[in-house]
């Protein structure tokens, strides 16, 4: 209505509002509620697997002598207690039990408000679990996107597995996870250049990983060093171009996710390292609602 006249007075304003509109459109692109519901099931079903089977080590930290506890900044600021056996098991089994309850509630489409509170408490428990896990000399970098997912999933409102209503809050939550995934790749490349220098691509970092934890599949490659060097060029390039994933068409995103998953599986077969929470978050790029709902033509 009054917009054209304002734009005439201030030529930059029209451009500015168009950019703001595009940014808003991108962040709040609606997705079916069924998609966020399916993603929730995936994340909360994975969490017990992560805390009990894949990375249960935080629990052992409850028994480690307090002299070896070196709390992260977040643990010092809050300030979080020094881990004890009681604390670690409370956090571990508490988060697991709540996750199981939550999956049941989502599947049955019951008590949406309770779901929100349970989801929020899981985020807090998992964050504490991270502090317990990473305050003894080593921080892992495979779960930033997963933490983002746990933080934003409670904000997406009620969602049922068969509810195809497009939702902007669901769109934003999945977008946050997508950006978290891409940020992990891109900033991992930044870290390589920052700490290893541009010479990282020609260094023996992967050879070192193979010597330390290589499999029979990878060990022969030690004798053919150029293969490992080539893989380092490949990894750095892949990480630097990863932001494109956020802006390509959905079909291409799905192919890219399939490719990335096979890359992570291959890495696992070579050096027994797989960033499982991160791999789970790659599903934020997929039309998960189609598992239970036929696409309407």
């Amino acid at each position: 209505m009054s917009t054209p006249t304002r734009a005439e007075r201030r030529p930059g304003a029209a451009m500015g509002s168009r950019v703001a509109g595009a940014v808003s459109h991108w962040w709040f692109m609606p997705v079916p509620r069924a998609r966020i519901a399916a993603f929730r099931v995936l994340v909360y079903a994975f969490l017990p697997l992560d805390m009990l089977v894949l990375r249960p080590w935080g629990a052992a930290h409850g028994y480690v002598d307090p002299d070896l506890y070196r709390p992260l900044m977040i643990g010092r600021l809050l300030p979080l207690p020094t881990p004890t056996p009681t604390l670690v098991h409370l956090v571990q089994y508490g988060a697991v039990a709540i996750s199981v309850a939550l999956v049941v509630l989502i599947a049955g489409n019951r008590a949406p408000r309770v779901q929100t509170w349970l989801a929020a408490s899981i985020f807090l428990l998992y964050l504490e679990w991270m502090v317990v896990s990473f305050s003894y000399g080593k921080v892992d970098h495979d779960r930033f996107a997963f933490l983002v997912a746990l933080a934003v999933l409670p904000t997406a409102g009620r969602a049922a597995l068969r509810d195809m209503t497009p939702s902007q809050s669901a769109g934003w939550a999945l977008r946050m996870v997508q950006v978290g995934v891409v940020a992990t790749y891109f900033l991992a490349a930044v870290a390589k250049v920052r700490f290893g220098g541009w010479g990282w691509v020609n260094s023996t970092t992967i050879a070192r990983a193979v010597i330390r934890r290589g499999t029979t599949l990878a060990d022969p490659l030690l004798q053919i060093p150029w293969t490992l060097q080539l893989s380092q060029w490949f990894i750095l390039t892949l990480e630097f171009v990863s932001p494109a994933l956020l802006f390509v068409r959905p079909k291409i995103q799905q192919y890219a996710v399939a490719f990335l998953v096979s890359f992570h599986v291959m890495t696992y077969l070579m050096i027994r390292i797989i960033f499982m929470p991160h791999v789970v978050c790659l599903a934020a790029f997929l039309p998960l609602e189609r598992i239970l709902n036929r696409p309407t033509k």
Partner: protein, 171 residues
């Protein structure tokens, strides 16, 4: 065109979009800006202490084509035994190799800290004999022009013995 207030298309099959309020959108954009802004700052200037907003430095360091590739291990004694190799893990001492490497400067500066490792061992395995002596060794694989030669050099980095009067390690 970009107005979020626009009426949803009146198509019978497509359900109307559940839209966010302006406040809902602004607060979400602010959250995104803060999280990813801090993460970017952490990636360029931070360290592991900033978790979860620190740099993603998995396999980020460069190793030389010729030199050593080292891993740390533990060697321990119980009453009357010889030195026995122990791989640090959550099951053996509650901490893994990478965690020992992360705290290595502390152990080198103050080998008495190994008493805490022996105490952790006793807490995890109360029914087994306590450790009376403990040392951290560095096992270096020699690499020449990116190919390991097979030679492994061992160095003791820190060593500790339980005080004779205490009788056993830990409390």
């Amino acid at each position: 065109m970009t107005s979020q207030e626009a009426e949803p298309t009146a198509s019978p099959e497509v359900e109307p979009t559940a839209e966010l309020s302006t406040t809902g959108k602004r607060s979400r954009l602010a959250v995104a800006a803060v999280i990813f802004g801090l993460l970017t700052v952490g990636a360029f200037f931070g360290n592991d202490d900033y978790f979860p907003l620190g740099p993603f430095r998995m396999y980020a360091t460069s190793s030389q084509a010729t030199g050593e590739i080292a891993v740390v291990a533990l060697e321990m004694k119980t009453e009357g035994s010889d030195w026995t190799l122990v791989r640090p893990s959550p099951g053996t001492v509650g901490m893994n190799v990478a965690e020992f490497e992360g705290q290595l400067p502390r152990f080198e500066e103050d080998p008495e800290l190994l008493a805490a490792v022996a105490a952790s061992r006793s807490a995890l395995h109360p029914d087994e004999p306590g450790w009376t002596d403990l040392r951290i060794v560095r096992q270096a694989t020699v690499v020449v022009d990116k190919v390991p030669t097979g030679e492994v050099i061992e160095t003791v980095l820190a060593e500790w013995s339980a005080p004779p009067d205490s009788g056993e390690a830990g409390q």
